[in-house]
């Protein structure tokens, strides 16, 4: 850099300082007569910048647009509550934003998608548990049904055995076929052969009733 250029920079610096201190341009120019033209052009440059600055004004619509983007604070009574517990506030609308707004939008959506994935995962897990539970129930039910049936047959009342014998007797009277009658009665007696521990008197009475029925059926046949 030449000495002349360095000197000019130094003079410009001093001239600007003097201007800031309140000296007029003509006063400053008189202080540096050898750099008068250069300094004059420097001050003209600053004037042009000032003039152009005044011409640059943003539209009021832009200010309104930005200010309307601020969400007004609401009273608790005016707040809209979400029915979703996991979504505390509404999804922000970034449709009007450009540049970085789109990145924010992307991050926001990615976060929501992650939340959705978590809830989807939990849903699948619950569904899987339901299916496993159902499978377990269907696998176990036949045995339990069998047990229930056995319990039911074991606890079949002597009265029902008795009525079966009476039915067999009536059938014998109607058909006069002793083999059928005997088979039916034997079937019934097998079903009811399991003793009912709770009331042995009932068991013995039912057996004797069956035998009596058998005898009667044989007598009918002989006749």
């Amino acid at each position: 850099m030449s000495n002349n250029s360095e000197n000019l920079e130094k003079i410009i610096n001093e001239a600007l300082n003097l201007k800031e201190k309140g000296k007029t341009i003509s006063e400053i120019l008189n202080l540096y007569p050898e750099y008068k033209n250069e300094l004059k052009e420097i001050f003209q440059t600053i004037d042009i910048l000032n003039e152009e600055k005044e011409k640059v004004l943003p539209s009021k619509e832009l200010l309104v647009k930005i200010l309307s983007g601020l969400t007004p604070s609401k009273n608790v009574t005016e707040k809209e509550f979400s029915r979703y517990l996991y979504r505390s506030k509404k999804e922000p609308d970034f449709s009007g934003y450009k540049g970085r707004g789109s990145i924010i939008q992307l991050l926001e959506r990615t976060s929501l998608m992650t939340m959705k994935k978590i809830y989807l995962g939990i849903g699948v897990l619950v569904l899987a548990l339901i299916v496993i539970g159902a499978y377990y129930l269907t696998a176990v039910t036949p045995n339990s049904n069998q047990q229930t049936a056995n319990q039911a047959s074991s606890s079949q009342s002597p009265a029902s055995s008795l009525s079966a014998a009476q039915e067999a007797q009536l059938l014998a009277e109607a058909t006069s076929n002793p083999d059928t009658i005997v088979n039916n009665l034997l079937d019934n007696s097998q079903v009811s052969s399991t003793p009912v521990e709770s009331d042995p008197s009932l068991t013995s009475s039912s057996s004797s009733d069956v035998l009596d029925s058998l005898n009667q059926a044989v007598d009918i046949n002989n006749l």
Partner: protein
């Protein structure tokens, strides 16, 4: 007292940090024009300046909680965000310019010359073009000093430079601008 609070940016930013949207709105009104002018002289068009200004204020709104009052003025905070936004903008532009350069080899440049602009009375365009020919530091200093009317101390804080360095850059930038205006026959 209440009126003082409404004019004091430091009070306003504290209120804004506590969620007071009215204080926010007041801050926006105070800094809207300086920020817009700062952005306008550093980008190509008014539309882009408007979009970027909007982006700057959105970022401030989202990051106001991060503002820490460590001898830093709210305006410096606003300018820092505006500055970072512009740096991002030009970074993206440079990425795109690779494709644009390929096209520009085939299409002749139809931008009017500075003399044509002077004849049309479009001094503003010359100013913008001349500013763009300066280094990034020089551009910032000229805009902050003569467009935004900041003091050398404020500019030094904002750019993390000494006041002496700011003065030097300012003089060099003014000298370069003067030469450009002279070449464009503005004066």
């Amino acid at each position: 007292m209440e009126n003082d609070n409404l004019q004091n940016p430091k009070m306003l930013i504290q209120k804004a940090k506590n969620g007071d949207n009215e204080a926010f709105a007041r801050l926006y009104e105070l800094y809207f024009v300086p920020i817009f002018r700062y952005v306008y002289f550093r980008v190509k068009s008014k539309n882009e300046a408007e979009d970027l200004t909007q982006e700057v204020f959105l970022k401030i709104y989202q990051s106001i909680e991060n503002f820490e009052d460590k001898n830093k003025s709210p305006l410096a905070y606003f300018f820092t965000i505006a500055r970072n936004t512009i740096v991002d903008y030009w970074r993206k532009k440079k990425e795109l310019s690779i494709d644009e350069n390929e096209l520009s080899e085939e299409i002749p440049d139809k931008n009017p010359s500075p003399t044509e602009l002077v004849e049309k009375g479009q001094i503003g365009e010359i100013v913008k073009q001349s500013l763009k020919d300066l280094t990034e530091e020089q551009q910032e200093i000229i805009i902050l000093k003569f467009i935004n009317e900041r003091t050398n101390r404020e500019i030094a804080d904002l750019l993390n430079k000494s006041e002496e360095a700011v003065r030097q850059l300012q003089c060099r930038a003014l000298k370069a601008l003067r030469q450009k205006f002279k070449d464009s026959k503005i004066f």
